[in-house]
């Protein structure tokens, strides 16, 4: 698990660097989802960076597509493209748009950006693989604000009735959306219970405990049902001054003040693990 913890720190460092370099980015959600992505790319997922379309690969659909920088960091660290390329994010002609795009980036299998859509697409991939009798896993990551979209609930209803066992939805439940705390807008209440009621194998875990996330994935895989992991996370995790405060969704320009110190501290944490 030490390697996964290190990967999570590296993802945070690279993502902060790239967002700061461009001067804009969805810092809050990128930081809250970093540990889940570290478990997927550091432990659970099968992939080949030299052959991103390898037919034995597992799939990740980042339905909260605005958190692309977290995923790009993982892909670069794992060798899908050079780390230097991370700094091209959102520059004209880049392969790394802020929101994930399947036709632009090696290792991205589904375009996302308009909330609620990716999770339905992910189910389609899982159904297609099942039809081919393949056991590749399909993961989708949604946000809690995103879960207000009706289309998310459509997918929650469909999947358990279709016998997909190779499908895990992870909810990055950081309890905040753009304008406010989710509970102050349209509360989701107990998402784990809701998913279970629809027929999913559903668990809630600490979304910053990589071991707990990994165990939850193993439990889902063994359940014989589509899995739903409610990740209890903190928006802005890793940048202490920004954690769980108002207006930490997306940062532009001056909002990055202090980021160098944060990166230095994350770097020190990383070295301590080495």
């Amino acid at each position: 698990m030490n390697d996964i913890k290190k990967l999570a720190l590296e993802i945070r460092i690279e993502a902060l660097k790239m967002m700061n370099h461009y001067g804009f980015g969805h810092v809050g959600g990128v930081l809250s989802v970093a540990d889940a992505i570290a478990v997927l790319y550091g432990k659970q997922m099968k992939y080949d960076p030299k052959n991103p379309k390898w037919d034995g690969r597992d799939y990740l659909v980042l339905s909260k597509g605005h958190c692309g920088p977290a995923l790009y960091s993982a892909l670069a660290i794992k060798g899908f493209f050079p780390r230097e390329e991370l700094l091209t994010m959102n520059k004209l002609g880049t392969r790394l748009p802020s929101h994930v795009d399947k036709n632009k980036t090696p290792g991205i299998d589904m375009t996302a950006g308009s909330l609620g859509q990716g999770v339905s697409c992910a189910l389609g991939i899982a159904l297609g693989l099942k039809l081919q009798k393949k056991d590749n896993m399909v993961y989708a990551i949604i946000g809690d604000g995103e879960a207000q979209e009706g289309q998310v609930w459509e997918t929650l209803m469909i999947a358990p009735n279709k016998g997909v066992k190779n499908f895990i939805v992870m909810l990055d439940n950081n309890k905040q959306q753009l304008d406010d705390f989710t509970d102050n807008i349209s509360p989701l209440r107990d998402m784990r219970q809701k998913a279970e009621d629809f027929g999913w194998f559903a668990v809630t875990v600490d979304g910053h405990d990589v071991e707990a996330i990994n165990n939850a994935i193993e439990l889902c895989k063994a359940s014989g049902k589509p899995g739903f992991i409610n990740l209890n996370t903190i928006k802005g995790k890793g940048w202490p001054a920004k954690e769980a405060i108002s207006n930490n969704h997306a940062f532009r320009g001056p909002a990055f003040a202090g980021v160098d110190e944060v990166i230095n501290n994350l770097q020190k944490e990383l070295e301590a693990l080495n």
Binding site: Y59, K102, N103, D109, M110, T111, G113, S114, G116, Q117, G118, V119, S120, C121, A122, L123, G124, I125, A126, L127, G128, L129, L131, Q132, G150, Q151, E154, T155, M157, I158, K162
Partner: protein, 311 residues
């Protein structure tokens, strides 16, 4: 009626099942309406390639896009407004922007659901899908073309929207040859060119006879592909006749008439008269009454063309 009338849904279902015999990747996604779309035979033969998701058109488009990522060729068919207007953004991103090999069929388009009223009319579907780059839009003229268009669609690699009314449709052409992107000169003429799409075209063909009796020599062009539009045939018709009329069971705005006008504005400017549905919310009621009201009947088309040519 001088033409044999055929069941469009049966043709949709039969051609899907036939093509599915040849291509194991073809599958069907349904939102509580596959058997009513004629897919009964497909479901019987290939139950594991049939996905009934319930009444959720947004997810149906998303699931279709996901299936396409794994090499499947999903066919999603439901009433036109529910596969275009309702999941428009999913169509735009999951199908269009990602260039997925997904086939969407908008059935009961136009005034087909005349008993159900404006919530069920398919009068803006062409306009909406035309806004999405690189999506092919097909609107077959008759039963033979529907058969041909279905096969062409299922063999084409890329996103396609096919619209069709599913009341009985006439069989006008003998063979089911269908080439995506090509208009067809059905009748030569020099006084005016009438460009028509969809199964309302049968009225245009009859109107052309009446126009001939009134001394007007009308060219008739069937346009079963609306995107990409056959620019060459439009420009040639404009050059030859100097006047164009378009006919469609769709709003006057955004459909075939707009597509033809855009070509004329760009390449050869001639007057264009659009016959279609006015931009308003029309009543429910008998189909023929609505067609008459919009001057899409044989008489309405004939009168409108005569007035236009006389100007």
């Amino acid at each position: 009626m001088k033409y044999e009338m055929m069941d469009a849904k049966k043709i949709i279902g039969e051609t899907t099942a036939e093509e599915a015999d040849l291509n194991p990747n073809i599958c069907v996604v349904s939102t509580d309406s596959a058997p009513r779309t004629g897919m009964g035979k497909f479901i019987e033969k290939y139950p594991n390639r049939y996905y009934e998701v319930g009444i959720m058109e947004q997810a149906a488009i998303g699931v279709s896009a996901g299936l396409a990522v794994t090499g499947k060729v999903p066919v999603f068919c439901a009433p036109a407004p529910f596969v275009t207007a309702r999941p428009f953004e999913m169509f735009k991103i999951d199908v269009g922007y990602m260039h997925q090999n997904v086939k969407v069929i908008g059935r009961n388009c136009g005034f087909n659901y005349s008993d159900l009223g404006p919530t069920h009319y398919g009068l803006e579907d062409i306009a909406l899908v035309r806004l999405i780059p690189d999506v092919v839009i097909l609107a077959p003229i008759d039963a033979s073309q529907l058969r041909g268009a279905m096969k062409a669609m299922l063999r084409y690699e890329g996103p396609v929207y096919l619209r069709i009314g599913t009341a009985p449709i006439p069989k006008i052409f003998n063979d089911d040859e269908f080439e995506i992107g090509k208009g067809i000169v059905v009748r030569e003429g020099k006084d005016v060119a009438i460009i028509t799409t969809g199964e309302i075209s049968v009225n245009v063909f009859e109107a052309a006879d009446k126009l001939a009796a009134a001394g007007i020599d009308a060219m008739v062009i069937a346009m079963p592909t609306i995107a990409p539009i056959d620019e060459e045939i439009i420009v040639k018709a404009a050059e030859l006749t100097g006047k164009i009329v378009t006919v469609e069971e769709h709003f006057e705005v955004g459909g075939l008439g707009s597509a033809v006008s855009e070509v004329c504005a760009k390449s050869f400017q001639v007057p264009v008269k659009r016959i279609g549905v006015p931009q308003t919310y029309l009543s429910s009621g008998p189909y023929e009454d609505l067609v008459d009201y919009c001057k899409l009947s044989v008489e309405g088309i004939t009168e409108t063309v005569l007035e236009f040519v006389a100007k």
